[in-house]
Subunit: 313 residues, 2 copies
Amino acid sequence: MAYAAGIDIGGTTIKLGLFTDTGVLKDKWEIPTRTEENGKYIFSDIADALLSKLNTMNLGLSDLVGVGVDVPGAVLPDGTVNKCVNLGWGVIRAGDMLSEALGGIKTAVCNDANAAALGEAWRGAGNGADSMCMVTLGTGVGGGIILNGKIVEGAFGACGEVGHIPYNDDETESCGCGKKGCVEQYASGSGIARMCKRKLVSDGRDSSLRGYDAPDAKIIFDEAKKGDAVALELVDDFSKVLGKTLAIISAVIDPELFVIGGGVSKNGPIVTEGIQKYFRKYAFHASRDARIELATLGNDAGMYGAVHLVLGE
Amino acid sequence: MAYAAGIDIGGTTIKLGLFTDTGVLKDKWEIPTRTEENGKYIFSDIADALLSKLNTMNLGLSDLVGVGVDVPGAVLPDGTVNKCVNLGWGVIRAGDMLSEALGGIKTAVCNDANAAALGEAWRGAGNGADSMCMVTLGTGVGGGIILNGKIVEGAFGACGEVGHIPYNDDETESCGCGKKGCVEQYASGSGIARMCKRKLVSDGRDSSLRGYDAPDAKIIFDEAKKGDAVALELVDDFSKVLGKTLAIISAVIDPELFVIGGGVSKNGPIVTEGIQKYFRKYAFHASRDARIELATLGNDAGMYGAVHLVLGE
């Protein structure tokens, strides 16, 4: 049997997955990301980790057909990584460097949000979906678009940057991207927390949220589930922004399926139900039956997408 | 030399183009669209028109390698036309019916907005662009998305329905689609005329626009070019809606190029310059250099796209 590796390189940990060449995950583990000296140890650390894992299975490099990696930064169409601030990387040929550390093995590199989208489309909530948009609700709002089963990168590597759809012209605070009023400022984990802080100042009502120093997304969703009126309104506002955003995406690219992932999605069906309500209100009639589902692969989505990329090429 | 036909079927006229199989337009002409009896004569009318044209050139059906048509309605992935109200058609296999009228010739069918986008991408402003979004500003706002040189249809046939991106929650009038606040209600020919009517009531200023019964888009752009302050504001508002809409599209699908077509685009560079100004304000930084250009094929775009579809397949 032949194997392949799918590797998700994050700023703190590197998640490694060993798959059969038919895409079945056999083993997964993590190693710390060493970002010192411009992240130069990352390649040898990955090589060492893979080789020692293969060794424990009485396997060697010759049993490995390829290694796919995803990185927290932009990847150009030719595979060049265009800076990963969190890893200490500048503009580098990460695939070539990893290949060199692993005896010339075939590699593939892509952006982490795109890898997660591809992973979910292939083996997660998408279950082989032909067209899908993944929206990742974490500290920010990320996204990835899959068409004909493949990642769409965009002419400027910005396809699926749905967190930066302009949403509110009246916003006074700046988004991380430098603009004001992006979707991400309302519909991310930090966005709902920011809206909560604002609301607790402007709204005089009593609320269980006042019992917390700085309520985060999980606390807000938990208090909403318990019935707190202010928390319920915050969740409804959040759902409206996302439902409308998905309707916007549908009017542009019309996917059969939306998959909602990221830390905020762990609050469960309350997230997709709220989004669904507003999606159906704002969507163009033809697209109103597009499905909206929670991601199923969690933190493994990236390694699935990365291995699919190298196996599928 | 072999030939192919590209045919744009509209509610009033059918535009026919005879091309070489390398895509050079040799002749074009029009016939009226007969919509009586559920548009059943359309196929034989097209066949008669093509055969008599071939005859005048001492050519026959055997010189024709295929016929591509576009229609003013939704086309499903298998080529079934899902109603064309303007033609009197219900759900029909238009390609098969045309093929039958032309001795079994190869046919291809697509939606008219998508055909125009493909035509512009191939031989118009796109000039072979790999990724492009065409926005057609007519009575409504249509659109088409081209990726990897091909039309993206969408899971529900609604890809590129950018006129129905939700834009304004406070709108009180309904869009043709049944929703309220769609882009099309502000940024189409009828949209800018509607805004003008509103403004002339709410805004007490003198304006040359008051000299017209019901100023249409052309009058508004003409008066703006002459410096009328109210007309200039209307054009600026129109440009803002479209610039922001293009920024939204970029954050979803990130094309290298936008092509602006349709009747309103005939007002010239004032249209693209206004859109550009707001696009650069609202676009995510990575995509800010996407080009915005006027369509160059005019009413021929559809026939170019239609013939490319049948030649490219």
